[in-house]
């Protein structure tokens, strides 16, 4: 192990000794100076997670969150210099973190918060001009093969828990006491300008949007949505996507986008 790896390993593991050969400018104890640095690295990474996962922190309390995050930071230090990308596997970690086992929905709340961060940093995409769709409407026999492309910020979460309500309750939109966490919910994350929005959608909407993301044309995407949810309302779902400016392109085949 070279001295750099040694230094790094000692930063994350308080059981390790201060790396050898460290010198201080004023003759103070290198171990004491190193302990300060170690503490700053850990606490700044925990702060970054707390900023990224505010609702998870509110659900478990600050003390629990910081202890859990400290275990995670030591287990999965950042792999990139972009701190906004830190924590992509935090939800998976939470799922396996035994002390949080009594809150089975916690990992999915973290997944929703991760989708919000992803949406916030996603590329801009101008919404499709509705006149293009109006023109497509004039040729109804080709509608089934129309493909819609959606904004890069769009994210979907299919949860066995009431993730949307739990999240909304922490934005002051509903009372937490009224939320039944065991009610399965689907979430749609979109960005409108700089505002990231979380919408509760029905199962059919989720299946339909998933199919669109896979590049399925309108006809083929509608079938699994109706099969999974007979109450699926294509018009309402498309209206929601249009209103949110979530549809960015449409084309009859993958090669030639419509003007």
């Amino acid at each position: 192990m070279n001295s750099q790896q040694d230094f790094f390993a000692a930063l994350l593991d308080p059981e390790r000794d201060c790396p050898a050969d460290l010198k201080t400018w004023n003759g103070s104890d290198p171990a004491a100076r190193f302990a300060v640095y170690r503490n700053n690295v850990l606490s700044s990474l925990i702060d970054a997670l707390a900023a990224s996962f505010p609702v998870v922190q509110q659900l478990v309390g600050e003390a629990f969150f910081r202890a859990m995050a400290a275990v995670y930071v030591r287990h999965s230090p950042p792999r990139t210099r972009i701190l906004a990308d830190y924590g992509t596997d935090f939800p998976t970690f939470i799922e396996g973190f035994a002390p949080a086992g009594s809150l089975p929905y916690l990992a999915d709340v973290a997944r929703l918060e991760l989708l919000r961060i992803r949406a916030y940093h996603a590329a801009d995409a101008a919404p499709l001009n509705p006149t293009v769709l109006a023109a497509a409407l004039a040729v109804p026999e080709r509608l089934g093969s129309l493909r819609l492309r959606l904004q890069p910020a769009l994210g979907l979460l299919d949860s066995a828990f009431a993730v949307v309500s739990l999240w909304a309750a922490h934005q002051g939109a509903l009372a937490l006491a009224e939320v039944d966490p065991d009610q399965a919910q689907c979430a749609l994350v979109l960005r409108n300008g700089l505002a990231v929005e979380v919408l509760g959608i029905r199962r059919g909407d989720l299946v339909f949007i998933q199919a669109l993301l896979q590049g399925q044309p309108l006809g083929a995407a509608t079938q699994p949505a109706l099969a999974s949810d007979p109450t699926f309302d294509l018009g309402a779902c498309l209206a929601q996507l249009l209103r949110a400016g979530a549809i960015t392109h449409c084309t009859y085949d993958k090669q030639r986008p419509l003007p």
Binding site: L174, G219, D233, L234, L238
Partner: protein, 104 residues
């Protein structure tokens, strides 16, 4: 009929209807909507309200029951009080939130 069309369970007419409705709903600018529509209480189906009053139902699509008296839907101006609402004391939608009467 070509193969794509014969495989399609969802008819072109149904797609056209849905897309047409979606364009109509979404193309109306919000200001025009506010001018041409009225908030109608007690006519929205469960989960289909545009927005709602009262704790637990502050967002669109959260009405817990059909014809919930404190949930409203935007409807074209003048049509609210002509829209049937089995929970409404008047039997029709109302421009203000109301207490539902028990459905028989």
């Amino acid at each position: 009929m070509n193969t794509t069309a014969s495989h399609a369970v969802v008819s072109a007419a149904a797609l056209a209807l849905a897309l047409g409705a979606a364009l109509a709903i979404s193309s109306a600018p919000l200001t025009a909507q506010a001018a041409d529509n009225e908030k109608c209480f007690g006519v929205a189906m469960q989960g289909k309200n545009d927005c709602a009053a009262g704790p637990g139902t502050t967002c669109a699509g959260t009405a817990k029951v059909d014809y919930q008296g404190n949930a409203w839907k935007l409807v074209p101006q003048g049509t609210c009080e002509q829209t049937a609402s089995p929970t409404s004391p008047t039997g029709f939608g109302q421009l203000e939130a109301f207490k539902e009467v028990k459905q028989s």
